[in-house]
Symmetry: C2
């Protein structure tokens, strides 16, 4: 990696595309992409020792994960991703095969999502940071603000599996957890490693759903965003939260509460959406609640309503919080060995 | 900065826009911008202790600089910037007033360039990284590949002033340089702090110039990119390189060669462009050479032609190089005090 020119050539070869909309790809000052309509734009960053640790997954999987996490925002807008730009910060001494792995993972996600990588940028820096910009197109962008009283509340998949998987990875728990839970714990860890942007689901919701958001910061917090933007209240049925006995048992074995993780665990990268009660679901989704008049979020459990705050992942949160799932955010944990002793 | 929600509100207020093309700005999963034509897309990152040190400029100036550096790529495509996304990585303990300064600088650049910031992302990380995605629109994107034999070669401004300014800052030379050079040295340092994307010039070149590139990695290296992409040779007249006696004297005082800096110094953020000899310059630019048949770049000095390689700034270059201007790249220097002792 001693030559920027060679690197650009490598990126160009790795991310080659025959998409006719891409008029100029990697290699000029900027990319040129033919486009018409509403451009849907998002950027997301994945930082080493904040969003991931190298021990948690091979670098190709880390990169693939970062791309899907960024594209998940496009899915939540009921948009189709059209192209992406990647800005890579890489530490000194980053090896050729490590770079290969990163590019391979990005190429895999790009290919799976039909989203050519048309430009990028590399820089040296203190640790790995993968910043992914995704542009998409939407005929009717789906916002957070459209939830209406009477709507049903759905998720496209498990809300806590990936957060539990992160707990497993943080504690290296597949080695220490009870043998009968090891397989389940591994599966949760693997779920954390492999989120998939719900593009098809998002597109299928266009014109049907009234609001959507991608679950990145936890159901509680993201749902608060929807009800605030929409001026409504949400009732979540605790019994409807999608998790099974192995989730319950694994959480318990880690000293965590399953419902709390399902409500507050981050990085689910599923869609949370609302739909009129009489509309037909365009795919199998999980009904978890309803929209009513008022404000805030309540969880209904055993007939009792409990108001819950917007807890959950917060990438810039102070370290004062101490709830188990909140503290699972990497940035709130002691820095990894690599950086030990580097604090000011 | 203890609450992401408050931060988003702050970004929303700070970057509010009345641009009618912006249908959804900061605050949803993604931005929605009405767009039609050729989307010109670029991303650029500015990393602490790689691209800047905090001692070199106030944070608002650092942020403003990062935005203009990114937009400079849009200028080089003869495109008009339409919107931007900002991804901020901020270290733990980053203060409120520091964040204020960053946002103020970004807002200033956004406003000066008429380019609303429609989305973004914040994350904690080991040091400041400002990743700026800019989308633009072009009727006839200007590429690197259009230079033709017989064309004249121009730059929009000084090619070495900012690189010399960086040298001044790296050596803290305004304090140590001869008194009669202090004012000049300060001016070069200030030039480094305040690049301005040459948007108007880029737009004026549309349909007239045959090729363009923004000078970020040094004239020699960037010109090599143009001649390679175009399949031609460039002749640069050393006497035509735009620098005066104070540049010469300041470079000399720092033990550097003025012509070398003008040829190889990075971060000029001027446009280098080619135009047919019979075309009329749409603004005052500096003719520095011509395009001839062949390959590579030659510098003509005192009637002697000297072939020069693609030297200059390389953001991922190994540390083996030892030429003065090459070594001015921050990443090649000893790490700053903040990170001393943190290398593996």
């Amino acid at each position: 990696m001693n030559d920027e020119h060679a690197l650009v050539e490598r990126l160009r070869a790795r991310f080659a595309t025959d998409d006719p909309a891409v008029r100029v790809g990697i290699g000029d000052d900027a990319a040129v992409v033919r486009f018409s309509g509403d451009a849907v734009l998002t950027v997301d960053v994945s930082v080493e020792d904040v969003h991931f640790r190298r021990a948690f997954a091979p670098l190709d999987v880390i990169a693939e994960r970062a791309f899907h996490a960024a594209a998940s925002d496009i899915a939540a807008m009921a948009a189709r991703p059209t192209c992406a730009l990647i800005s890579l910060v890489l530490p000194e001494g980053f090896a050729e095969d490590e770079l290969d792995a990163l590019l391979r993972g990005l190429a895999r996600a790009s290919s799976a999502l039909g989203t050519p990588i048309v430009g990028g940028n590399t820089s040296r820096g203190p640790s790995i940071a993968i910043s992914t910009t995704v542009m998409g197109t939407a005929t009717a962008p789906l916002l957070r603000s459209g939830a209406r009283v009477g709507d049903r509340l759905y998720v496209t998949g498990a809300t806590g599996d990936r957060a539990l998987g992160l707990e497993v990875l943080l504690r290296d728990a597949t080695a220490t957890i009870a043998p009968e839970l090891r397989e389940a714990a591994s599966a949760f860890a693997n779920a954390w490693r492999t989120p998939r942007a719900r593009i098809a689901e998002g597109l299928a919701l266009s014109g049907i759903a009234t609001s959507a958001i991608d679950l990145s910061d936890g159901l509680a917090k993201d749902l608060h965003r929807v009800v605030e933007a929409s001026g409504v209240r949400a009732r979540v049925f605790a019994d409807a939260l999608p998790f099974g006995p192995s989730f319950d048992a694994s959480a318990h074995a880690l000293g965590l509460d399953a419902t709390t993780i399902a409500l507050e665990g981050g990085e689910a990268y599923e869609l949370l959406f609302t739909m009129p009660a009489d509309a037909t679901l365009p795919f199998a989704a999980i009904a978890i609640g309803e929209i009513v008049a008022g404000a805030g979020v309540v969880v209904v459990e055993g007939g009792v309503e409990r108001v819950i705050g917007p807890r959950g992942f917060d990438h810039l949160r102070s370290t004062s919080g101490s709830k188990p799932v909140q503290s699972s955010h990497l940035a709130d944990l002691p820095t990894s060995k690599r950086r030990k002793g580097c604090r000011d």
